[in-house]
C-alpha cells in the first residue's frame, strides 16, 4: 500500500478550494495583473509532496474549474496545469530535497513555462493579450513561493495529510 493513499483528502481539497477563491477574488487595478497564480503554486506543492494521490488528474480538474471561472478557453488552464504537474511529479524526488532558495529558483522556470503555455494557446486560438505585464504573475508567483511552501508544509503537518 502506498503511504499517501490512506491519508485523508480534505485538507488538500480545502486548500485547493481556498486557492480558487483567491483566484476569483476581485482586486483593484494594478494588483489584478500582479496576482500570482495561487492554484499553480498549490498544484506544484501537492504534486511534489504527495505525487501518488495528487498529480496530473487533480491538476487537470482544477484547471477546468479555473477555465470556467476565468472565462478562458475550456481546457486551457487544464492543459497547462497538467503539464506543470507532470514535470513536478517526474522530478519530485530531486526537487523535494532541495533547500528552499534552490527550490524557489527551480519554481521560476516552471511558472514561466506555465504562463508560456497559456500565452501560446491564446495565440493559437487568436485571443489577443498585451505583452510585458502579462508575465508579472511569474515573478510574483516565484516571490510568494517560499511563504506558500512554508505555510503549506505546516498545514500539511498539522492536518497530518499523508502521515
Amino acid at each position: 500500500m502506498n503511504r499517501d493513499h490512506a491519508a485523508n483528502r480534505w485538507p488538500v481539497i480545502g486548500s485547493l478550494i481556498f486557492g480558487l477563491m483567491l483566484m476569483i477574488m476581485p482586486l483593484p487595478g494594478a494588483a489584478e495583473t500582479m496576482r500570482p497564480d495561487w492554484l499553480a503554486l498549490l498544484v506544484i506543492f501537492w504534486s511534489m509532496q504527495l505525487p501518488r494521490t495528487w498529480s496530473v488528474g487533480t491538476a487537470w480538474t482544477v484547471g477546468i474549474m479555473l477555465d470556467v471561472t476565468q472565462g478562458t478557453l475550456l481546457g486551457q488552464h487544464a492543459l497547462a496545469l497538467c503539464i506543470v504537474a507532470f514535470i513536478i511529479v517526474r522530478f519530485h524526488l530531486l526537487i523535494r530535497v532541495f533547500p528552499l532558495p534552490q527550490l524557489t529558483a527551480s519554481i521560476f522556470p516552471v511558472l514561466a513555462l506555465y504562463q508560456f503555455l497559456l500565452f501560446w494557446i491564446n495565440g493559437v486560438a487568436g485571443v489577443s493579450a498585451p505583452s510585458s505585464v502579462y508575465w508579472a504573475p511569474v515573478i510574483t508567483g516565484t516571490l510568494v513561493w517560499p511563504v506558500v511552501y512554508l505555510y503549506l508544509s505546516s498545514w500539511r503537518y498539522r492536518t497530518r495529510v499523508g502521515a
Binding site: V68, Q70, L79, A129
Partner: protein, 290 residues
C-alpha cells in the same frame, strides 16, 4: 524472484502510468479547446461547472456585500435628508425635461408617420447588477446577476445611464458574462451623431480609451464629436451614445487617420447596468457586432 514490489522499492520515484495519463489528459484538453473555440457546443458543460462554483463566488463577494449593507445601515438621518433633498431637486429637473421629451417624442412619431417610416419602438430594459469584474485582467469582462433564466441571450446589449457598456458573451443559467466595449476583441458599428458618418469603434484594452481604426484621412470627424450606435451590426439597437472623440491625428502618409475616443459610460465605476430587450434584435442571427 524479483517481485513487482521489489522493483518499486528500488525505484521509489516511479509513478505508474504517469506518462499515459498525461497524454490522455492533454488529448482531452486539446479536444475541449478545439470544440470550445469552434462553436458553443460546450456551453452546457460550462454552465453546470459554473453553477457548481457559484457558492464560492458568493462567499468571495460576501465581505463586499456585507460592507455595502453595513454602510447602508449606518447612514445617518442627516445624510439621508440631504440625499432626499438632492434627489427631490433632481426629480423635479428630470420631470421638466421629460415633459419636453414626451412632446418631442409625439412629434417625432407624427413626423415619422408623415414620412411613412416605421415608428421607433421604445426598447425594453431590465436592470442587472454587476457581481464581479472578471479575474483575468486582459479580458475586459463582467459577471452580471441575471442569466438565461431571466431571458438573457448571447449578444445582448448592456448600457448604463450614460452610454453603451458592452454585450453579453456567455449567458449562463443564473449569471452571465459580458464583454466591455474596451476589450481588445470588441468592435462596435457606430455613427457620428453630428453628420451620420459611419465607422467602427474598437477596444484598446484600456478602460478609458477606444480607437477608431477605419476613419479615412479626409473624413469629417473632430474632437468632441459624439459617437452613437448605428444599429447596423444587428446586436445593438441604434441611437445609444458610445463615446466622445478625444483626438484626431491625420497623417498624410497613412491611409487612415488616428482617432481615439473616450467611452461615454463610466466603465470602471458602474455597479448596475441595463440589459436591452430591443424589438427584433432577439431574433438576430448570432452576435453581429464582433
Amino acid at each position: 524472484m524479483l517481485s513487482f514490489r521489489e522493483t518499486n522499492r528500488r525505484n521509489p520515484g516511479r509513478i505508474p502510468a504517469l506518462g499515459l495519463r498525461v497524454l490522455a489528459l492533454i488529448a482531452i484538453s486539446i479536444a475541449l479547446m478545439y470544440f470550445d473555440n469552434r462553436d458553443n457546443h460546450l456551453n452546457t458543460v460550462r454552465k453546470s461547472i459554473g453553477a457548481a462554483v457559484y457558492p464560492l463566488r458568493v462567499v468571495v463577494d460576501a465581505p463586499i456585500s456585507f460592507w455595502n449593507w453595513f454602510g447602508d445601515l449606518t447612514t445617518t438621518r442627516n445624510e439621508l435628508e440631504t440625499e432626499l433633498d438632492h434627489l427631490n431637486a433632481e426629480r423635479l429637473l428630470t420631470h421638466v425635461r421629460l415633459q419636453k421629451l414626451q412632446a418631442l417624442e409625439a412629434e417625432n412619431v407624427r413626423l415619422r408617420a408623415l414620412l411613412e417610416a416605421r415608428a421607433r419602438v421604445r426598447d425594453e430594459v431590465r436592470v442587472a447588477e454587476i457581481m464581479f469584474v472578471d479575474a483575468n485582467p486582459y479580458d475586459h469582462s463582467l459577471i452580471i446577476n441575471v442569466g438565461s433564466r431571466d431571458g438573457v441571450f448571447n449578444g445582448q446589449a448592456l448600457v448604463d445611464a450614460k452610454g453603451v457598456v458592452g454585450q453579453v458573451i456567455k449567458a449562463g443559467l443564473m449569471t452571465s458574462q459580458a464583454m466591455l466595449i474596451s476589450d481588445t476583441d470588441h468592435a462596435l458599428p457606430v455613427e457620428v451623431n453630428r453628420n451620420g458618418l459611419r465607422t467602427i469603434v474598437v477596444g484598446t484594452g484600456e478602460i478609458d480609451n477606444l480607437k477608431l481604426p477605419f476613419v479615412v484621412n479626409n473624413a469629417d470627424i473632430r474632437a468632441g464629436d459624439l459617437l452613437v450606435t448605428s444599429g447596423l451590426g444587428g446586436a445593438f439597437p441604434a441611437g445609444y451614445p458610445v463615446a466622445v472623440v478625444n483626438s484626431v491625428t491625420r497623417n498624410p502618409q497613412e491611409p487612415f487617420a488616428e482617432v481615439t475616443a473616450t467611452p461615454a459610460a463610466s466603465l470602471g465605476q458602474v455597479r448596475e447596468v441595463m440589459l436591452i430587450f430591443a424589438g427584433g434584435t432577439r431574433n438576430a442571427p448570432g452576435v453581429g457586432d464582433e
